[in-house]
Symmetry: C5
Subunit: 308 residues, 5 copies
């Protein structure tokens, strides 16, 4: 999670490289932090040992012959092959939808922050004080929302302190922080209305943006704190486990000691899908797969400062 | 369903644990309340007895030989394997969508409750009476909606009684409770408008939130009272039943008495999916899989009290 | 379709029973009206006779031997097995989406009827005449919409006659009925505005609800009168037919006379899916699978009468 | 595309027939215009000839024996069977979504036309001139939109000529016609506002409908002029072609001359799906599968004339 | 990317050709720029060499016999065949959804530009200066958005220079360009409001369009700068690679040197899907598959100029 200052026009550098055959090869042999093999290799080694043991027992110790019923246990694996694939796709789809949903919400945060800043810039006179207030508070909201979703994001100094002394408000860190920021912005606008410096129509004019801030917060909380129903994830793990554990028995007859890499590879494929799904299900963490939220927050900051 | 008072900033503790291999193992051998095996084990035992009986009859009593046509009944199971998988995925998807839809609706309830409180806090003077009225009624609506959806939720005292005597209204418990709360809030605002203490623009300002309350209620009722078309669930149950009951006949030739655990496992997989789907289809119950609604209602309460 | 008066608080009794193993069994052996077997049994008998005939011809008359190419016709069935499954899932999904879409629309009808009643109740003085007008017209709209979608719904008396004489308007039954109701409500509000008894802001206040009434009507008409493209349903029926008709040829070699129940069961599964899809594709009929619209209309009526 | 005058209440006759076994049979043996077999039969004949040739060469000329590797080419077909099915389903789904999206847009056109007419009828005094203006222009917009999407729709006379002389405007047929109609309606309302015959609130009151007209037009253009990415359709056609052309080689060993009808049937199934998808991808044509737009436009016309 | 001036009524020529059998053939043997074979042929040749080598080693050098366990490695390929198909479909679906989402956003850009122009044309007097200002700025926004998304689009002259001198503003090209255009339009309207030449209601009247401009920009940035989670694309590439590399080992026994074209074809199919998905995932490039954005921008320009 880098922390450099970013110019607004270049807030999002192209992350989509051009794809070429050479590129493919580099993809194949690069095992970066997000690579599932880094997390799964202890279990893969265990599976290899287990498969080798099963193969040894069946072939050398018990010396099961071709007619043994054990051979046909693999019938179960082809019967259930569809079901396990379908479940993994279901898992992948729902996890990806949350991730993309999270991205959409932060895209809305960008849009509404921009719109609020542009509208206020057009509406307010060039009076430094009022513009300055929102110049601080709009990015502060985004920043607070990020820390609300992920406590591990480093605090970047108290934005409130940048405000002139009479506008500073002490936030209550025991309470819901993003709510307090939205509340402050609403109060400021209502005060301007009461003092006759804004018409009611102008308050309504910026209402959709402030309303959206709260909406985005509630939706992000929904994604952050509601994992997939426990029954599914628990059932899927049990299913993968039994599927893999029984896999060597039937196929030793066909594959001999080749069973070892093959069971390991099948496990790698199935467990990777479950693992990636678990990771992207919560898109607001700071992992390599997660959304570049710190970058987005900084983009909001530089864009709001440009406008106001 | 816990009942402790919760600070608003921590209303939703992180429920997404970090996943590690150790974690996986704990998942595998923990059979918590939601585990389908707890519900299915009587039927699994029945299936085992039945499969054993079929195997005994075919192998010992009738002594069917390799050429018997019975052997090839399994052809049907691979022909229909796709269809049954597809149907279960369809079932899983629709049930999950309802569950997630329910979660989205309650996320909207959180958001609109917050927004209504923040707007009123900004709009109303620091007059205790009016603020106090909505401080009671907004969370009371959420609480009433929860009881409306799930009669088993314990009544937590009459929120109305916390109001000053002249504002108390006797609800008619024979009628639609959430409607009455929304009606009361609308009337209160209209009265303030008639007394000249609110402008019409200000009434419109909080209208989207009150409108959303009724919308959320109708949508929750839709999810709660409209199960999947009876034809589908009835057909799917019949299909799974016949599929499992005919499974041992063909495979005894390949699997001998191994047929017993294998048919049991296939049944466990297929019936689990149907069972989980049935459970999460109605996300407003109080099961372990269902949404943590009591917790959400308490979060609304503490957040509204912070703001107003 | 029952017709009893229903208290609003209980308008939608829980239709989701608790599921237990005993429950499953009752599901298996109950063949209610919606059961596809009741509709398909004549064709299932035909299929049985046909399969038996094919088996008889191949085994007794032509005495095809193991080497006959006819044996391998089943290759085609496994090649096309995916495609037929995918198509049935596509069919099931689109039909279910229409059904659920229809339910969502009626849920909106409930919500907007409630909201309109609550808003009018808060806005209008306790003058019986005006409240009474909308108390009659809001549920009358829902009732007219239902009859508009399904001519077979029994007419429940002319709601107009419940109005005081000077407010009664003769509807033109040759024209679009729901449009006329919405038109009457709009005109009544505009008249109140012209007479100075409503502000323009108040007319706008209830506009979203009236606008939604027309929207719901147009969307219901879309679902009601636009079946799936004829090419798909025609192609799917031809495909199922040829698939089933050619099924016995290849499998007689493996299955002998067992082919009869197996082809019948495969047909039952495939045709049931098509049949259920056809039924729920039009969710506004009066079948057992269709939406409980009469019940919803009565719920709207009792709720509106409670509020206004 | 029929052209008769239709009463508004019956604008959309029930097109969903009741389904009975007899009905199914009629479906099977009716080859109407939309039937894919009418379009595919030249290619089906070619495929038959080709398959027969391959079978003749392999069996009579080259006399390949059972051990030939050619036999196992069919391995490829089962490996890729999934992929081709998935791709066809993807194709079917996206095409259907466009078709249904198009239907939804026209349903919105109906709804907004109705709403605009009802609102104007309530707002405008019974002054023939102004009502008459919109009575002509609202259906004229729908009609112009249809011709904008499908140049082959016959022009039904210039609607402008029905207007009184001083209201007639010469449209510029080189420019975007639907835009001009919306522009005329906006200008007429603004003129009424400038002349003091409408309040600004009333102009806003009908704004959502006029705004929706332009939105519907842009969305229809999107569906009409953006086919599926060329890479997909090109790739899918090549894939089907190679899949079918290589099909006979491997299966001749199993099927002999039976290969001819079987390859033809597989081709019929795969190509039909691609063909239907191509047809419904553009739902605004005048084919049998396309949307009954002329009928919808006439429904709009009769409904608007009823109301205004 | 053509650059000719286009009449607005014909901005989007029909790109959906009529399909005929002849047409299909032309599709099959045309390898245009978007054809994946042009990009994959170096890797296809490598795969062919590799498969040939494996076949040579197994058959000629090692002379593995029929009983070798190597033969059954193909078991793995059928076990994982589902999973790889599902993943490719997931990839295809998500990429297509982004592409279509991008198209929908530009369709909204068209619609809002039109609507803004039509509304302004109706609202503003025929004063050349103000109309001219928006006649330049509305298409300039679309053009700037396009360059913001794709730096390679050629700059088409500074639109600002077409404005009269006193209206020209120097844009800051280091900052976010589209934001500056929206800001200018907002400021211009607010100035007109302050000068009393617009009512506040009229500013609100065009607010939805200006708000939408920023929304579209943020959503396009989301699609442009957020590729699919790296874990998925990395995992999928590794999976395809290992799947293809191990494919020849098992199947040489069945297919001999036929393995070469077959492995090459399977690779072509799987890699094409991944490649096309990568291409359409970013729909704002200038490739043949990408959206015709330059054409759409020119359509906006000519339509706005017609109206204002």
């Amino acid at each position: 999670m880098e922390n450099t200052t970013i110019k607004s026009g270049y807030a999002f550098p192209a992350q989509l490289p051009t794809y070429s055959p050479q590129h493919w090869f580099s993809f194949l042999f690069r095992f970066n932090q997000t690579d599932t093999i880094r997390k799964l290799y202890p279990m893969i080694i265990l599976i290899c040992v287990y498969s080798g043991l099963v193969a040894y027992l069946e072939m050398e110790v018990w010396q099961l012959n071709e007619k043994s019923y054990v051979r046909n246990i693999s019938v179960m694996h082809s019967l259930l092959g569809f079901v396990i694939s379908f479940l993994l796709v279901f898992r992948t789809n729902t996890a990806y939808e949350r991730w993309w949903d999270g991205r959409r919400l932060w895209s809305q945060q960008v849009q509404h922050s921009r719109n609020l800043a542009i509208k206020l810039a057009a509406m307010l006179p060039d009076d430094a004080k009022e513009r300055g207030y929102f110049r601080i508070l709009i990015p502060a909201y985004a920043s607070a929302l990020l820390r609300h979703l992920n406590k591990k994001v480093p605090d970047q100094g108290n934005e409130m302190e940048s405000l002139p002394g009479d506008l500073q408000v002490q936030l209550d860190y025991e309470k819901h922080i993003p709510n307090q920021y939205v509340g402050l912005m609403h109060q400021y606008l209502q005060n301007m209305f009461r003092e006759g410096r804004l018409q009611w129509g102008q308050v309504l004019f910026v209402n959709p943006e402030l309303q959206a801030f709260t909406e985005i917060c509630a939706s992000c909380e929904r994604i952050r704190y509601t994992p997939i129903p426990r029954s599914y994830s628990s059932f899927l793990k049990k299913f993968i486990f039994i599927y893999i554990m029984t896999l060597p028995f039937g196929y030793v007859f066909n594959l001999g000691y080749f069973i070892i890499p093959i069971v390991a590879f099948v496990f790698y494929v199935l467990a990777s899908l479950e693992l990636i799904a678990e990771e992207i299900e919560d898109p607001f963490g700071g992992d390599d797969n997660d959304l570049p939220l710190l970058r987005i927050v900084q983009g909001i900051k530089s864009q709001v400062e440009e406008v106001l």
